[in-house]
């Protein structure tokens, strides 16, 4: 059991989905992959495939045109899985909160485990958020 928990915490694979953000937070996520932050140190790999992913990293607010896609991606991920929302607009709607096409935060559509606020969120904060999510992943939720 201990081995499994340890391996889960040491090998989180990411799926990054842009739910209609301004791209500010996406660029910060990509910054985490660069040699300066190098999140592969923690075994984190950006997978781009929901069936291989453990952590769903969402940027941008939930909105009418694509909330179904978000739900679909979430359902395709095998358990145990966690959702990390990056950026204020994903947490609450942020700067977009009263636009007609916006539902609000990501938690209106799928359950969210970690919120990383900031507009845009700093790479350090994103890494902190993912590490926090690892605690949940470890225990298989």
């Amino acid at each position: 059991m201990n081995w499994i928990a340890r391996s889960r915490a040491k090998s989180p694979w990411l799926l990054h989905y842009d739910c209609g953000s301004c791209n500010g937070c996406d660029i910060e996520i990509l910054a985490c992959l660069t040699p300066l932050y190098d999140i592969e140190r923690f075994g984190i790999v950006n997978m781009g495939n929901p069936k291989h992913a453990d952590i769903l990293l969402v940027t941008g607010p939930a909105n009418h045109p694509n909330y179904r896609v978000l739900k679909n991606l979430y359902e395709q991920m095998p358990e145990p899985k966690v959702v990390v929302v990056v950026g204020s607009c994903g947490c609450t709607g942020g700067v977009f909160h009263n636009c007609p096409n916006i539902l609000g935060g990501i938690d209106k559509v799928i359950p969210v485990d970690v919120y990383v606020p900031g507009c845009a969120a700093k790479p350090e904060a994103i890494i902190d958020g993912v590490v926090l999510a690892l605690e949940k992943l470890k225990n298989g939720k």
């Binding site: 391996s7 040491k10 040699p35 075994g43 781009g48």
Partner: protein, 279 residues
């Protein structure tokens, strides 16, 4: 015999996993990063085994077991010093099973991936077969146990061709067209897109066996003692890592051209040379 049999099955994946870990570490260092710990592949595989299963189509699951089984069979053939040609054919069957598995899902990504995997097989299988023919001409037998003299001095063109096959088999740039090893590409994860959890883990395990097996075949080219062979294999492996890091991913037509012109060309020239000058 039984001890060799069990050792080949149990020890090989550990060597393979360790090589994959060192591979990721070295790659990270070449890119100016720190990289994951060396035991990372083992964390990955234990995690994959512990994930819940999402099953979309049933037939690939059976075929994945077949893929693993045939590769392990090839490893055992090698460990018992059996027929080299047989080993290559068994390896080919294993790959066909993987392709069939991906073809039977409906995802367009795994369809394209398996198409490209077939092209990869077209590229490296002839090289492997020609290499074993060249070894046959030198030693007079396809049996691995008959190889006694160092072969590299006369078979160096075959060695270069095998290097190309090694890059394709390790799914490294410039030839990682079927699976896009570094994901986030136009075909997601290609042939592996539809596999998840346990089955992805089994495929990864099969890769570890395959990696060690192909390196072992390369080490055959120098059997004046075990260590020179191992050094030769590790050296080739390191060359592949360097090539991986200085190359972009190329198109499939480029891969076929390179492997057929350079790979098959070198092997055939080598065989003709052996025929004319008697080695």
């Amino acid at each position: 015999m039984a001890i060799i049999f069990i050792a080949a099955i149990v020890v090989t994946p550990f060597i393979g996993g360790l090589l994959r870990g060192i591979d990721r570490k070295l790659t990270a260092h070449m890119q100016g990063r720190i990289g994951p710990p060396i035991q990372q592949p083992f964390y990955d595989i234990i995690k994959l085994f512990s994930k819940s299963q999402i099953i979309t189509t049933r037939s690939p699951l059976l075929l994945v077991y077949g893929y693993l089984l045939f590769i392990v069979a090839a490893v055992v053939l090698f460990a018992l010093k059996q027929d080299l040609l047989m080993l290559i054919l068994v390896l080919g069957v294993a790959d066909v099973l993987l392709v069939m598995g991906s073809f039977s899902t409906r995802s367009p990504y795994s369809q394209i991936g398996s198409n490209r995997e077939l092209l990869q097989m077209f590229s490296y299988e002839p090289i492997l077969i020609l290499a074993s023919i060249a070894i046959y001409m030198e030693t007079g037998s396809f049996l691995i146990s008959r190889i006694q003299q160092p072969l590299l001095p006369t078979l160096w063109p075959v060695y270069l061709a095998l290097l190309i096959a090694l890059i394709i088999l390790m799914r490294k740039s410039p030839f990682d067209i079927s699976a896009s090893e570094h994901a986030h590409q136009e075909i997601v994860r290609g042939i592996f897109t539809e596999y998840s959890g346990l089955y992805l883990g089994l495929i990864e395990l099969a890769h570890w066996y395959e990696l060690v097996l192909v390196l072992a075949v390369i080490s055959l080219l120098w059997t004046a003692g075990v260590w020179p062979g191992i050094l030769l294999a590790l050296f080739s492996w390191f060359i592949v890592l360097i090539i991986d890091n200085i190359n972009a991913r190329l198109t499939w037509s480029w891969m076929i051209r390179t492997s057929w012109v350079a790979g098959i060309g070198l092997s055939i020239l080598n065989i003709i040379g052996l025929r004319l000058f008697g080695g």
